[in-house]
């Protein structure tokens, strides 16, 4: 009977939350134009590199990206030497060694990006109870994908009159429920881009979203390129099949 109650309870809960979510889903997430969208779209590598720079300098203070090995960045144009140098900048826990001790060593490209906190509890404790989500799959794990990331990062504003924020929370017009632990982190020229691009908030949000799309789907370019070939092949094959079929069946009529 307990299972039954749990089921009913969870269903009721889900329905209750559904109502709330419905209310918040009326927020329209504006669509952006992305160089990687469409059949022939590919990741804008320069933009993704800038996005990575922001991840490294800003996001990674709180957000982990634990599914992504550093070597993945070869896909947005990092050379092997650059990757080695980049990886060596991280300290990675290794071991145990012969005396049974864990020790720190410089990272290698095969390592994954180190997480800022040892566990979820530590992450919550350092962030006023809020858990900064892992960014490895962010571009695939939210309705709206990269458009949502862009909207979220540019969606911080003063709460409208009548909205009381809970302590430590910030108002974001695109976040479900609007109250979010993360502060408005992107400032104009908050980062200095290595390639000299002007770091407007809009530009930064765009670059982060591009980078996170790549991080969530490192084989995106390869997938689309293969898709074009596969479909072209299938169309030619379909034409041949149809011609064969017509010829064969014509002597039946």
């Amino acid at each position: 009977m307990r299972a039954l109650k749990t089921a009913i309870l969870s269903a009721a809960l889900a329905l209750g939350i559904t109502g709330a979510a419905q209310a918040s889903e009326s927020v329209h997430i504006p669509k952006q134009s992305w160089p990687h969208s469409g059949i022939f779209g590919t990741i804008d590598k320069a933009s993704a590199q800038r996005g990575f720079q922001i991840y490294k300098e800003v996001c990674s203070t709180c957000h982990a990206m634990h599914l992504v090995p550093i070597r993945t960045l070869a896909g947005i144009g990092f050379s092997e030497d650059e990757l080695k140098a980049l990886a060596a900048g991280y300290e990675v826990q290794a071991g145990p060694n012969d005396s049974g001790e864990m020790f720190m060593r410089p990272g290698v490209p095969a390592d994954r990006f180190p997480s800022p906190f040892p566990n979820d509890q530590a992450a919550r404790a350092a962030n006023g109870g809020a858990l900064p989500p892992d960014l490895s799959l962010m571009a695939k794990a939210r309705v709206g994908g990269e458009d949502y990331i862009h909207a979220f990062l540019t969606g911080f504003e003063e709460p409208p009159a009548g909205v009381n924020l809970m302590p430590g929370m910030n108002y974001n017009k695109y976040f479900p429920g609007h109250q979010v632990g993360m502060p408005n982190i992107l400032q104009p020229d908050g980062v200095t881009y290595a390639d000299g691009t002007k770091a407007t908030v809009e530009q930064q949000a765009h670059d982060i979203a591009t980078f996170l799309t790549f991080a969530a789907e490192p084989h995106l370019d390869a997938r689309k390129q293969m898709g074009v070939k596969v479909i072209l092949f299938l169309i030619v094959l379909a034409g041949l099949m149809y011609a064969t079929k017509r010829k064969l069946w014509s002597n039946l009529h």
Binding site: A3, A7, I17, L67, P69, R223, G227, L234, M241, W249
Partner: protein, 422 residues
């Protein structure tokens, strides 16, 4: 060995084997010379397409299983490892995940084709019932497959669906405990679902072989719903239907490839890219699209046990379909009144599917209830009554007469024209 047919096959090795184990004779008989009604249209290709989808699912699934870890602490990351690090792992997984949806698309079209042309009627009752069993096993297999990536929807979908069984009195709770292997959806659940997800496709394969065997006893139905009377009404399966089905398969593959390569996550849910968390319930718990009509039926009934019975009943009653439909005429082509209700049923299924994706409240709940009512009304009342009341249009004398040029009644000839060209 006295009656060894020495000249049957050109290849002596094939001959040698065949005279001891006649598999080549069987294949020759069932796939080379198997007579297909010459008027079948492209809807008849979806059986072959569904069969090919099963093979694709087993093949990709095998290689995915080699890389997957069925432990709650590893499952999610192992799937991501397949996506990122395994050579063409992303391709395998997207082919498999979208393949499930494409398999259901093929099977739903196959089923509605059977409904429209009365393919379930005598002498094809067992063929149809085997098909319904295949559909049920497919649903179980797909459900368990969706649990394996151990994302939020995997976990919560598994929780909601397994909990359905607890609605049954007395046996309900023990069944749920057995499904879970414990007292909540957890590691034992994932492990047994993985084992079953590996086993059931082979059960499906066996059922498909039986389904095909039953088909080859009475032969394929056709758009006119009348029996083939002789060779003038049929064509040999090979090469005529092989090439026709082959063309249909390639077109289907183009659609499939478009999903795999250009919108691989379109039919999935973003929440399943968030690792399972028993403490956080997603805002909407929505099953995969192919379960949505049944999910709508489940939620349309205010009582839990009633809802579960209605949901399982909606599939179970399909097994009784050959006896619920009292009309002697198979094809809807010759049933002017029933044909309209068929399309209402098709729209009803789509509406139920849409309602299943919406929160069960307000207008959507009412729509789901009306849809559920019509579903049962259609099969339990309309079908038996209409068969007695309706006056079907006259049937043509034979397939060849109505299909071939210059023969048959004008009306039937005109109706058969599109598939003659097809």
């Amino acid at each position: 060995m006295a009656q060894a047919q020495a000249t049957k096959f050109k290849n002596p090795l094939v001959n040698w084997i065949d005279s001891r184990l006649p598999i080549f004779t069987m294949l020759d008989h069932e796939y080379n010379h198997y007579p297909m009604p010459r008027n079948v249209n492209y809807l008849w290709a979806f059986g072959a397409i569904a069969g090919i989808m099963l093979v694709i699912m087993i093949a990709t699934g095998l290689f995915l299983a080699m890389q997957y870890s069925s432990h709650t602490s590893l499952a999610f990351d192992s799937v991501e490892r397949i996506m990122r690090d395994v050579n063409y792992g992303w391709l395998l997984r997207y082919v498999h995940a979208n393949g499930a949806s494409m398999f259901f698309i093929a099977v739903y079209i196959h089923m509605f084709r059977g409904l429209y042309y009365g393919s379930y009627k005598a002498p094809r009752e067992i063929l149809w019932i085997l098909g319904v069993i295949i559909f049920l096993v497919m649903m179980g297999t797909a459900f368990m497959g969706y649990v394996l990536p151990w994302g939020q929807m995997s976990f919560w979908g598994a929780t909601v669906i397994t909990n359905l069984f607890s609605a049954f009195p007395i046996v309900g709770d023990p069944i749920v405990t057995l499904l879970w292997g414990g007292f909540s959806v957890d590691n034992p659940t994932l492990n047994r679902f993985f084992a079953l997800h590996f086993l059931l496709p082979f059960v499906l394969l066996g059922l498909v072989i039986l389904h095909t065997a039953a088909l080859h006893v009475c032969g394929s139905n056709n758009p006119l719903g009348i029996d083939a009377k002789g060779p003038q009404d049929t064509v040999p399966f090979n090469p005529y239907v092989t090439v026709k089905d082959g063309f249909a398969v390639v077109i289907f593959m183009i659609v499939y490839a478009a999903f795999v390569f250009f919108m691989p996550n379109y039919m999935g849910h973003p929440d399943n890219y968030i690792p399972a968390n028993p403490l956080v319930t997603p805002a909407h718990i929505v099953p995969e699209w192919y379960f949505l009509p049944f999910y709508a039926i489940l939620r349309a009934i205010p009582d839990k046990l009633g809802g579960v019975i209605a949901m399982f009943g909606s599939i179970a009653l399909l097994m009784a379909l050959p006896w619920l439909d009292t009309s002697k005429v198979r094809s809807c082509k010759f049933r002017p009144i029933y044909r309209q209700f068929f399309w209402i049923l098709a729209i009803d299924a789509l509406v139920l599917g849409y309602a299943g994706a919406m929160p069960a409240e307000g207008a959507w709940l009412i729509i789901a209830r009306v849809g559920t009512f019509y579903y049962f009304f259609h099969f339990l009342v309309l079908l038996p009554v209409l068969g007695k009341l309706e006056r079907p249009r006259p049937l043509p004398n034979s397939i060849s007469e109505s299909v071939l040029k210059g023969g048959g009644r004008v009306a039937a000839g005109a109706a058969a024209k599109p598939m003659e060209k097809a």
